[in-house]
Point group: C2
Chain length 425, copies 2
């Protein structure tokens, strides 16, 4: 039976999960996959973590050089996160002829091209299913199942923390702060939640996924980003009345002027399959010219779902003699467009309007002057002095919306636009 | 650039779709996949089909021998369906060193082992993503993504025809016959719908999927099968009131006594992700020990979704130098169990009860004598002489249910059990 030695760099949540899954399933993989996978070394400075996981002293390494010079190590698993020293370690492993499996989205999003070129040069494999959406099998699906399709769009709920928070704000009417606190208590959000709630995590993942889907390098800096911190529970509730559900969507669309890439709070129809993806679940919804619509759903983060992706890659690497390299290797930076001058969408707009005659007509004419066609208007509670008015536009130019909003806010009517939310169509 | 010649055996719906996708995307694949895939021959006796698709005379073959002796053909695509002559043709191609891509579920379910052994012997690849659930990427996901998991259950809506019919019966209250007629008019059901509505198609697919998920050969004959012909619209409506949705589910579960495999009309909770899979869409819901719950969703049949899977396999084969063989190759027929003496489930039971005193107590004691615990009782309209009574049991033994039903039907109270539907838990 083929024997394959593995080194694990970093024993954080994912590294620990990977160690447990590999050791607990060793006999299972021998019988089902005909391969004997053993953890030959680990690189982890925190002594308490080594103790916690019951790591055998003989497999503890103290440097990447030691890992690279170990002839029993065939596959190096990088689950440290961050760019340095992860990048240096991965390059060292590849240069020493060891294949790499990584869960590091920031590293892969920023240096995927360089890593794959190095892997090719040294005839090694590099695998990164775990970089995006944990256990949801989206990367291999894009590479090996949908590669015959011209993909027109990819939309995803690709951050579990924000989806949990928005689900709680939607179903329990919680405030953002309360929902965040609950997510933190459950371990779904970090103490410092910035990377998740500001959308950076989703941006890294979307950079990788859209690069694969559209066969062109989409640098993360080109992705428009808006987090969920400013989402008002009241807009979520008004949206529901209109049949919408609020999600932090990552969207990549093929347009005539390039690939449009963006991450922002979005209203989506309640009947869309993504609308039903709740709690900390993730899903990616892909539309291709042959396959039509397809969706992949599962847990996008956490110890074992992410380890599932890491271990899937380890077994794949251990049971295949040669590797394929993804389009990261051979594409140029191309025309990724963020939300630009000619970006179009439907919009949900909430106006705090003073309830006096002429207000609706003033608001309506501000939109009309920008050739914005309004699809729906809801004016809820006219008994108070200042009433919310909700308008949903037909697809229109974002610039025109901004101009109309400016006009309304500057008018003497005391009306003020307080929320603008894009509606996915 | 690598050039790969393809032969297509059969130009039916899937074969025609494959031909169109390959020819229309030839330049796209050259630029994105760095491979030039050309259709070098087709084998199709129907002249009108050749004309319809505008096939060049030079690529029309008249026999499998001609296909096999063509040195430009590297990959043979078998999309004829049925066992013979498909099996003979596939074996001939493999013996001549040509890799095979097939969409033929009946062939693969019955002879997958033999085909893979032949492929191995001749150092060829054999690929069959298109045999199950069309464009939904479930086979490669099981083989290359979830292979690190011990899978506990796989549940799927894996037949589009029956899902369309049940969706119409649910949402529009249609009768089975009307819904079938509509499905036929839309091309979702065959003129002779037996293979779909009786569950044979789902059984073939479940045999393949469960064999992969559980690393053991699950012969299709061992799969319990019940079609949807006898489903009453009224039970669908009562079920909805109880929060259930009716689906033809294909279920494979790992139990202490083997893998339990079955296809039958099933009530599933309205909040389960599979409940929202409507119309002719398909989905497979898989639970593994690391990944947790994951679901793959898409169109399971049709010209282009199935061609997407076929072409995905063609490109995979054309861009990888070696192949992996799935557990079909190396496993024994093992303890697949159908619904057996100790099968347990919750049950929805509808009784037509005469509305006279003592009936409920008689029915209740029949269940009680079999130690069946009833979770819910609904008695709807007591104004008529004969009233429907719905009982939902806690998980219990199917044999006990059958005994209780017998007792009720044989009692002198004029009560009769008219429907028994398993509830997925």
């Amino acid at each position: 039976m083929r024997k394959v030695g593995v080194a694990i760099l970093g024993l954080g949540v994912v590294g620990g999960g990977t160690y447990k899954v590999l050791t607990e399933h060793r006999e299972f993989y021998k019988s089902t996959q005909k391969v004997d996978i053993s953890v030959e070394c680990v690189l982890e400075p925190r002594k308490e973590r080594l103790l916690e996981l019951g790591i055998d002293e003989n497999i503890i390494c103290s440097s990447i050089a030691e890992v690279c010079s170990n002839p029993d190590v065939e596959i190096v698993v990088e689950v440290m996160g961050g760019v340095e020293p992860a990048k240096e370690y991965v390059l060292a492993a590849l240069r020493n002829g060891k294949s790499v499996v990584t869960s590091n989205k920031e590293l892969y999003c920023k240096y995927g091209y360089e890593l794959e070129e190095t892997a090719k040069k040294h005839n090694c494999g590099i695998f990164y299913e775990a970089t995006c959406v944990g256990g949801v099998p989206v990367i291999r699906t894009l590479l090996d199942n949908l590669q015959g399709n011209e993909i027109s769009s990819l939309m995803g709920i690709i951050n579990g923390t924000t989806n949990y928070i928005l689900t709680k704000m939607t179903s329990d009417g919680m405030s953002y702060d309360d929902a965040l606190a609950e997510a933190q208590a459950l371990g779904y959000a970090e103490k410092n939640p910035e990377a998740d709630v500001e959308g950076f995590d989703a941006v890294y993942k979307l950079s990788i996924l859209s690069s694969l889907a559209f066969h062109t390098k989409i640098p993360y800096e080109k992705i428009y980003r808006e987090g969920i911190k400013d989402v008002c529970p009241i807009d979520i509730q008004y949206g529901r009345q209109l049949g919408y559900v609020m999600k932090l969507l990552a969207i990549a669309k093929n347009t005539s002027s390039g690939v449009e890439v963006r991450v922002h709070p979005t209203f989506i129809s309640g009947s869309h399959p993504l609308a039903a993806v709740g709690d900390n679940f993730n899903a990616v919804y892909i539309t291709g010219d042959s396959i039509g619509d397809t969706m992949l759903y599962g847990l996008g983060a956490g110890e074992f779902p992410t380890a599932s992706a890491v271990v899937g890659d380890i077994i794949y690497c251990a049971t295949h003699d040669n590797y394929n390299y993804s389009p990261f290797s051979n594409t140029q930076v191309a025309g990724a467009v963020r939300i630009s001058d000619n970006f179009r969408s439907s919009y949900y707009i909430r106006v705090e309007a003073e309830d006096r005659s002429g207000v609706l007509s003033k608001i309506a004419s501000a939109f009309s002057r920008q050739s914005i066609s309004v699809a729906r208007v809801v004016q809820d509670d006219v008994s108070k002095g200042s009433v919310p008015m909700i308008l949903v536009t037909h697809p229109t130019n974002e610039n025109s919306v901004r101009k109309a909003v400016e006009e309304i806010n500057e008018s003497s009517l005391g009306s003020r636009v307080v929320s603008i939310i894009r509606v996915a169509g």
